[in-house]
């Protein structure tokens, strides 16, 4: 992940578990997750609905609300401090300062009764000692930075007067106003049209290069992962089943779930004469995860051991895969379309 070794580590999440107490029992949404991001690094947590990817992001920010709770054995190391053990006040200083977050639907995060400029200026003033007027000037600068045209005019607009793409830009401007070391982006382009998504993805890439911040991207879209980040962690049923460099994982996935997921997506130029890979069945119930490997009931390769024992992340350099097939090293690489 990092070119300079562990010294450049920014965030290290250890045994993160986030459970929800429900009337039907304990819902283990995130159930023992480990990952790390280097300073200036990029990691995507990818998964389908119910995999626990969004709860993972919220947990890092300690934004999980009741009935959810982060298990006491969890650690969220950020620059040497364990966010899992920080008091609310200390936490407030980290949040929105060193770590900023953007969401899928900016409308829910922007206040409809204040202008966009006022809100960005407010965010600026939280981190810098600036007067109201100077903060507003800084807001215009931030809006220019994220490519909002005629920012001087737009600064007086209310959120509903902006298009979806422009609102997402405004939210990025707000998030970046504190010059964060880590930006958590939870499905930042899912609600956008594909040509606007392309704008926002390019914008985030260029801003990252310019500002040197790390990005934790949460997404369901493997295409977005390939275009945005260097490292990926694939989540299934509350666990990370495979992680490592995107290039390696996409060309030679070691976990059968990753493999099936990649094969189930039609690529440009693929035609219906060749059926797509289908993963049989559905995601298991988070109130009652299956024993052993949680993917075993849907897996094409499962054998006795999969149901009996839960596979840990096994090292198959340069990636790690939680599959018993990887016990003796790498599996045979795939030969089909993704490698073409």
């Amino acid at each position: 992940m990092s070119e300079n070794g562990s010294s450049s580590e920014l965030l290290r999440v250890e045994s993160l578990s986030t459970w929800f107490d429900t009337q039907k029992g304990v819902l283990r949404a995130v159930d023992g997750v480990d990952f790390e991001i280097a300073q200036g690094g990029t990691l995507a947590v990818v998964g389908e609905s119910g995999s626990g990817k969004s709860v993972t992001a919220l947990s890092v920010m300690r934004l999980v609300e009741r009935p959810g709770r982060i298990h006491p054995a969890s650690h969220i190391w950020f620059e040497g401090r364990d966010l899992a053990r920080l008091g609310e006040r200390e936490l407030g200083k980290v949040r929105g300062n060193d770590i900023a977050m953007i969401f899928q639907e900016p409308m829910t995060s922007l206040n409809p009764v204040f202008t966009v400029g006022e809100q960005i200026a407010e965010a600026v003033r939280l981190h810098q000692r600036l007067g109201r007027k100077d903060a507003l000037g800084r807001a215009v600068e931030m809006m220019r930075l994220v490519g909002i045209p005629s920012a001087e005019r737009r600064v007086k607009d209310y959120p509903h007067q902006l298009s979806g793409g422009m609102r997402q830009r405004a939210m990025i401007a707000m998030a970046l106003s504190s010059d964060p070391k880590l930006l958590i982006a939870d499905e930042p382009t899912t609600a956008l049209d594909v040509t606007v998504q392309a704008q926002i993805l390019e914008l985030m890439k260029e801003l990252r290069e310019r500002l040197g911040m790390a990005i934790l991207l949460i997404t369901h879209d493997l295409g977005v992962v390939a275009e945005m980040v260097d490292e990926v962690a694939v989540m299934y049923a509350g666990r990370i089943v495979e992680r490592g460099p995107v290039s390696e994982i996409f060309s030679s996935p070691q976990h059968p779930y990753t493999e099936a997921l990649l094969d189930s997506i039609p690529l440009l130029g693929m035609r219906y004469s060749k059926p797509l890979k289908a993963i049989r069945g559905v995601v298991p119930n988070p109130l009652d995860w299956p024993p052993g490997c949680r993917f075993a009931p849907r897996c094409d390769y499962f054998f006795d051991k999969c149901v009996a024992y839960d596979p840990p992340l096994l090292s198959v350099p340069p990636q790690e895969s939680a599959c018993w097939l990887c016990e003796d090293g790498r599996r045979i690489p795939r030969t089909d379309q993704v490698l073409a």
């Binding site: 369901h220 997921l261 219906y272 797509l276 993963i279």
Partner: protein, 348 residues
Amino acid sequence: MTLDLSTASAPDSRADPADVLVKARGLKKHFPVRKGIFKRQVATLQAVDGVDLDIFRGETLGLVGESGCGKSTLGRTLLRILEPTEGEIEFDGIDVNRLGARGLKAQRKHMQIVFQDSVGSLDPRMKVKDLVGEGLAIHGIERKRRNHLVLETLERVGLSAESAERYPHMFSGGQRQRIGLARALVLRPKFIVADEPVSALDVSIQSQVLNLLVELKREFNLTYLFVAHDLAVVGYISDRIAVMYLGKIVELATSDDLFARPLHPYTQALLSANPEPIPGRKHQRIVLRGDVPSPIDPPSGCRFRTRCPIAQPICAEVEPLLEDHGRSHGAACHFAGTKIPETPSVLA
């Protein structure tokens, strides 16, 4: 862009260009925009604005575009779920526009629609067998025959006989889409409009439903209009693709030809923007500026010109028509075929 030509050339389409099942000419659907307490009409939203289209019997025609381009409205207008403002629609040789209520009802048996979540929008207190059998009941099929057809169709879409007695909320998203398909299929239609049928589904479930759609088309000799925003999904399932932008078709070609030589700048941008799970795709690409303009007040001339990287003065003055550029590949652009340069930077 990676094109796998070995599989790209092999679709087993039975479509015959001489055999047109659905024909639209000069089709328009405008919506009045009303304001104030007297609901005075202040503007017109031109959702579909002059579309000529032939859908061949046995083919899947993909209709792709971004939100607000009018693709869903076009699908619904073709079925007269929405009344056209102007233009002609012919279905299997019958002038659909002239049909009265009774004639239309008889015709509906042959043309069905599946939505993104067809079942979610239906009465949650109805059992699956009643939801699926509703169309049969409307067409006066007696109960015994109805139940038989319902069970047969449920089985065909991969649902058990027990599911007939259950309620829609007891099913997952993928299963609900199967119920929606059964509901359309039970009438044994000739034509199905599939409006974003897999957009709400996780990718592993999406592939199940896409495979099923392909199987059903073969088995029941169906013709599809497949409406979606995802170019790779549309390209996978379609024999031909129509690209829509602000109420107009801007490009129309076979899927293979569209991907191999996209002629319209908008199609090129769509292809370039499509994120693909292929490592090393982190290159520069064509990034369009701005957003889609409002269909209430579309730009003059070519509607794409405000975002087009190669727009010229003529584009504001003369509206380009959908013209054939060989191999029945149509494009509506004065500079069709010009290769669009990649965008160096999105930052000012």
